[in-house]
Symmetry: C3
């Protein structure tokens, strides 16, 4: 049985297979490839694109989706082993997950990082609890560490634009925000771009370091695919000649000594047309969305013809459809 | 591409076509007229009938529906151009709408008036943002200015009862409530009844005037169809000889000088059997629902055989099914 | 037209028919027995298993489900006759129920007991309002008095394990909790086990008596089927030789003089391995879920191979599918 909660579940071969099928299926009529199948979509955190695109995958494929909102229409769920459950969590993953697995064919889960402790978040207890207790395949719709479907959609968009991602210079740039956000999206962009053979440059102010384990894994992918990974605090350097500018806000590293307010203290990191002009002439702009206009990214960048954010979001549908197919073939 | 966010999108011809098809389809078996289509239903405000009836339209037609609750399972959305998005709205319509349009075949939207300023509400920024940014047809499930599906269901109900609405005397009467409500439903009743050729009488206490632009538009429809529009503060006069009594609570006009508590100050406007007895002998009672019993309308009116409120709600399904068909033929 | 809001709607014959079909259908491929049908699922209270399993019933059967969350995406509903609706409830069941019945083929409803007054709860006004005002069949997804689908799933699980439930000794044991819970699940276990011919033993501390009307009804079922009902405050006695240990927390009886904190005052009633060892050697453990580990039930019981809680939850799907079939044949 295949799961897809992290890029390592696919590896480079799986990544290539999923992207190739997604690009092929985008050209033709919708294949009804999952007739009668039920996707169980479990949200511990809110969603627009992810929910709508996964529901569309189910429906276009001839199946259907059950959506459960934990803490909304569903009570909160415990993940700690041995807990005395006298708090606000009414059910343990040990019961909830195997039960849901009896009703559906695939479980997809969204759960954000707590954000208080990088090391604790890296253990990713909720998504790993689903993997452990489920008898059907589990897909991540973003967990504390990775957002693999986003990374796949990002690379699909880059390949549609440039044909290939081999040695493609791409820049992941940190951006300001009103509050610290999780690192799953930057983690997945870094990992997936490295696994797709890109020359990946990550730029952020000091103190906003990504998980070291993720950087090491990206370097390992890059070694296998002929790509490269570099990390810098110098944004200009990272932008020069880049074909993709990928902007994302995230919170400071736990051990940086920076508080949550630090995310507001580097307004010059908001991506503007001036930033885009430092990149290659044909550089495209990408962002996973949602984005706060004129906080993370200036209107002029998002409204420019080279912004690919809507195509990138559409590609969530295509890669997810292909990923579901890959999982069910496992 | 056709939208349907206001009656003017249909015009008199579209109105007649949608009603004729709705009445015909009600007689026979459900046509599976939208196989495989996805309706995206976006709610900025809560709903019972509207959500259930639109989901039923999708399912009975062979398609499916994706329901998104903004501010519930989905973050709040910004509509202001050029906004610095450092407040409570995490995504702009400029991104959210075109992205959703990539996943679904039709977008339907519910968004209520803010209620603080009639002139600002009349600009109807959310529904108009959807029209502007969507690449698929947009249907209003009620916006700040109109509730076109309700108006269609109202006229269908009147025609089922009386055969024709030509010169039919119908009375829209204001009613008390515990809080000021939007004007979209009375606006749409007025517009649609005028466009269907009725002799429309609107009665309300001083200070509860409807949007003057809507009244002017209704007069223009009436001129085209042989109907008429009259506005009065004298309810008895408005009821005399009327064949339809249509009750609805709404808030005071911004410039009336009345505060929100004014909606409680005219208890004699609660529709009672005494009011119904002033109308024609065969007069039917209509209300869009939900209604607060014994605040807006007395039990004796709602429980009377001449109350058509449940048929009227059922007709929401029939006119919406027909409207979807009209839109996809566009 | 058949409803299923209480076991008496099925009687012993209906119970046997539903269980037989559920067990038979579990062996084979999913029958597409409700093509095109719409189930309207109305939740006044949150749900995980109930919602997911009923949605799965609709989808596996070839139909679909509309989910409405009252107080969430839908306003609150009034049930009192003659009420002046100037409070927090925006619509009366008298309107909401017949309207929904025009859109769907079956209405299923979840509504918990208020918990402040057993006698008032026993009138079960919401579910009975649905029965009264609906023109389509109504199924209970748990009401103030009974949870018939749970009782059916419980008996299906016992029969799968032991072949027959005739004279089967089964023990319903009260357990501690952090707050008083409704009595619908213990009521339904008692009623359904009695109607299935079990030797039912109910054990609870003094003051936690179940509804006397339910006990009387269970005794009447037992008389008809050769079963028996006994009530005790002595748990050891109730466990001795029992083949099923069924644990459930519930609140004190209104007239017991016990306050809500009483549910925390009997920690020795938490089901542990020591309790299980007093039962028969092959005794299975059952619980309707959700359960608070190490408050109601010890980890060692839930993690033991004789725990059937996940099978029991799966059987919710099977009995509900069969119940829908029984209802539509009515």
């Amino acid at each position: 049985m295949r799961h897809a909660t992290k890029l390592a579940d696919l590896g480079v071969d799986g990544l290539e297979a999923v992207l190739a099928q997604a690009i092929a299926w985008k050209q033709g009529p919708h294949p009804r490839h999952i007739p009668g199948k039920i996707l169980g979509l479990v949200f511990f955190n809110p969603s627009l694109r992810t929910r709508a695109s996964f529901e569309a995958v189910a429906m276009r494929g001839g199946g259907s989706a059950i959506v459960l909102e934990v803490g909304g229409g569903v009570w909160k769920l415990e993940d700690r082993i041995g807990a005395v459950m006298d708090g606000d969590k009414a059910e343990h993953l040990k019961e909830a997950v195997p039960v849901l697995a009896r009703y559906v064919d695939i479980l997809a889960v969204r759960t954000f990082a707590g954000g208080a402790d990088d090391a604790a978040d890296f253990l990713d207890p909720v998504i790993n609890g689903f993997r452990q207790y489920s008898t059907v395949p589990v897909i991540s719709m973003e967990s504390a560490v990775e957002h693999p479907c986003q990374g796949l959609a990002d690379m699909m968009t880059a390949r549609e634009t440039f044909g290939s991602t081999k040695k493609l210079p791409v820049t992941l740039t940190w951006a300001p925000h009103i509050k610290p956000l999780p690192k799953a999206v930057p983690d997945s962009f870094l990992l997936t771009a490295a696994a797709a053979g890109c020359e990946v440059r990550v730029a952020h102010p000091k103190g906003f370091e990504l998980h070291p384990q993720v950087i090491a894994e990206a370097e390992s992918f890059a070694k296998a695919t002929g790509g490269s990974v570099s990390i810098t605090n110098n944004l200009d350097e990272a932008l020069t000649g880049s074909r993709v500018v990928y902007t994302k806000a995230w919170g400071p590293a736990t051990k940086s000594g920076l508080g949550p307010e630090a995310v507001k203290q580097f307004p010059e990191w908001m991506t503007s047309r001036a930033h885009m002009e430092k990149a290659a002439k044909d550089a495209i702009f990408m962002h996973c969305l949602p984005t706060r206009r004129n906080v993370e990214v200036a209107d002029g960048v998002l409204d420019h013809p080279n912004s690919k954010v809507v195509d990138e979001a559409e590609n969530r549908f295509h890669v997810q459809r292909s990923l579901v197919d890959w999982i069910l073939k496992g």
